[in-house]
Symmetry: none
Subunit: 247 residues, 2 copies
Amino acid sequence: MLSDIRIVLVETTHPGNIGGVARAMKNMGLSDLALVLPKVFPSEQATARASGADDLLAAARVVGSLEEAIADCQVVIGASARLRTIAWPELDPRTAAARIAGQPEGTRTAIVFGREHSGLTNEELERCHYLLHIASNPEFSSLNLACAVQIVAYELYLAAGRGAAGRPGAALADGEQMASFFRHLERTLHDVGFLHERRSSPSIMRRLRRIFNSAQIEAQEIHLLRGILTAAQHSAAGAGIRNAEEN
Amino acid sequence: MLSDIRIVLVETTHPGNIGGVARAMKNMGLSDLALVLPKVFPSEQATARASGADDLLAAARVVGSLEEAIADCQVVIGASARLRTIAWPELDPRTAAARIAGQPEGTRTAIVFGREHSGLTNEELERCHYLLHIASNPEFSSLNLACAVQIVAYELYLAAGRGAAGRPGAALADGEQMASFFRHLERTLHDVGFLHERRSSPSIMRRLRRIFNSAQIEAQEIHLLRGILTAAQHSAAGAGIRNAEEN
């Protein structure tokens, strides 16, 4: 699983941070690094901070655009310091790692980190399937780039079953299963009359996405939840049919 | 809880790392830093890498020995890169954070990090009640000091309950609210015909409890979820009423 994950750094300003990221990655068994328009690279500072992870720096791909960096990836996750109003599914590092660990083997996943001071643009975030947010002190929330990668890489390492604290073996629902579930949920909420013109459907669905995305749902549990939705749909429609038959 | 935790750095060589540690701490709501015989401090490099956490640097206590740094602490945890043969209890960062979060309020806890290249000596580790080990790639296991502190601080922040995906201050549902919700859920599953004699209700409810209990649901979200249950109940019963009226 760890070899299917690419770390993408977009327009990094300080070469020392690139070295720090390479070290943080190698510490946690990651090796695929792509650099989108780094300001200075290669650089002695990067090599110094890599502290022995220079093989990752030597193998890093330098590309001219985010598109190029993620072209062969099925899943793209964008790190975002701010809580966005975009209705994208937002994951914390632990949930993101669990989700990635639950993907079929060979699913190429990119985790994209933005500029030191301004992060990723909205346009860049829109190319991502998920946003990744690291909880932090609201009064001092901007993490050093290498430290942010370190936290995510640490969670990935544990989720890959390399540390003691992971939940290895639990096959989590993948992105497609979650997306189908949310579509089914929204249809059902209409069918039972909970969602209609008067209620703001996007904000309700955003809440529900947060709840279910953070629960690390197993593939098997998705079947259970969808069975419940189907029962609610049938009972909403079927009560009418039964009544019609009785009359 | 976070204000009861002190980070102690022993004989740090690179002042930049001290600044990086201050930033990592402040990002996660920690503020108490003690420096045992730092090679260079204060330093411009430390201030630069602190990136705005200079208040922590200004307040840092510089002391001449580990004993002095931990004198007022009831619990001392020593970071150790190597798996020691010492028969000390060894904790991973998540377990250590959970342990600390479970201590009575006011328990002063020190987490001690050693030198960049050689860590803590056996003599220093013997002054600790627990060893802390961060799982990492056995072929490249030495983390940057600031990154190691970042992982531990991140786990502490989550354990302190600050981490519900960047939702500061959100009141989580309490045990009574969750219990009422699960009763309402079970009733609804009967009403819509999902639970009946043929299905094993206890094991299904156990699954559903796991899902919703792990989602850290806010009090407000419980109202949303119960609103959905009520709608499903009404539609299951109400379709019949509507039909009866139409006929």
